[in-house]
Every structure is written in structure tokens, then in C-alpha cells.
Symmetry: C2
Subunit: 117 residues, 2 copies
């Protein structure tokens, strides 16, 4: 189905798009970067690099490690991390609503999924 | 400066983002794919592939070759091509306006350009 992809680009070049937003949500849901990476079928290393890029993009981190628990510790979103997700999802929804009519109009003239055969 | 990047993704997977929008505008301004590619410091082949992907994404083309002229012919936007650019730029501007306050708020907590040294 036709949709938009929205990315926020900071002055430093740091980006927040659908991948990082979903990863933050998955960390919030699962309580760990490793579990979030598994849920998103992503290498742990890639997940860690995405989180590290967010953590170094701001003057305070978006994700913090927490000690304890049977799995030897996990990760939680900071207030900044939760704020990032909330802002991103709110903007994405508003932009999708803005785009709905244009997407319908373009889709009506588009070659259907499956290609040009 | 903080900004958004908006991409429209059709049901077929075809995408229209800032690169293709700028390329279409440059073709309209210069009258040829080769001149547009030069203006955008892009390989001719890459420009051609981007245009080909747009042309095959819809049931009619976005860019058409035209014969004649001292350069041996050029390229022009079709009504669909002009409509794509107009819709994309209008949506991008509206989404940027929507995002302005969030971008300011995030930028205020961001590490400045130049990094984390």
C-alpha cells in the first residue's frame, strides 16, 4: 500500500526515521537491545550502532543500560528516548494524513505491485 | 539546519523523494537529462536509471525525449512529471511546517554539528 517515509535530519546530520523509531519502541517493549534486535530481525551490532548514533546525537542519551534481572541487565528508554518516539510517531501520522489524497491520486496512475510485465 | 526528508512510497515499492524531485526540476530547467545530471553532479547513468524507474512506475512516463535542437534532442517533463513534482514539493513544504516545532525542540537538545569531541 502506498505510504510515506519520514526522516528527521538534525543540523549535525543525525537522522531519526522509521527504523530507529521502531527500534526504540521495541527496546521499550522488550527491555533489551538484544531482544529488540531479534524482534526486528536485525544484527545485534547494527541495533547497537543505531542506538549509539542516537545516544551521541543528543546531549543526553535516548537509551540507557540497566543492571540486574535474570538476563544480566537490559536497556530502557530515557525520557528523551520516549519523547523522540512520541514526536516522531505524531509527526509521521500527521504527515501521512496530509499525504493521503496525493498518494491515492498517484497510486491511481501507478503500475501495480508486481511490475510492468 | 534541521530539516525533514520525505519520501512517497507507492504500493509497487517505487519511491519519489527529494533526489528524484530535484532531478525532475533540473530536467525541466535544463531541457535534458545529461544537463540535469551535470547540474546535480550525478553520473548520467544514475540520472537515467532514476528517470527510468519513475517512467516505469506509472502507466505513462514522467519524462519524454524530444527530438531536434542543436544538441540533438533533449528531454521534457510530461504533465504527469510536472504533477509529481508539484505534489511532492507541496507535501514536503506542508510536512516541514508541521515538523518545525519538533525540529526546534530536538535541535535544542542535540549535539551541534561537528560532533561529540
Amino acid at each position: 500500500m502506498a505510504h510515506i517515509k519520514l526522516t528527521l535530519v538534525l543540523g549535525s546530520g543525525s537522522r531519526i526515521g522509521p527504523g530507529k523509531a521502531a527500534l526504540l519502541e521495541s527496546i521499550e517493549a522488550t527491555g533489551s537491545i538484544a531482544a529488540a534486535a531479534r524482534e526486528m530481525r536485525m544484527d545485534y551490532k547494527r541495533a547497537w550502532l543505531l542506538i549509539d548514533s542516537l545516544n551521541t546525537a543528543f546531549t543526553s542519551p535516548a537509551v540507557e543500560r540497566v543492571a540486574g534481572g535474570s538476563g544480566g541487565g537490559g536497556a530502557v528508554l530515557t525520557p528523551l528516548g520516549r519523547d523522540l518516539v512520541a514526536r516522531y510517531r505524531r509527526l509521521e501520522a500527521a504527515a501521512a494524513e496530509l499525504a493521503a489524497e496525493d498518494l491515492r491520486a498517484l497510486e491511481a496512475r501507478a503500475v501495480p505491485a508486481g511490475g510492468t510485465l
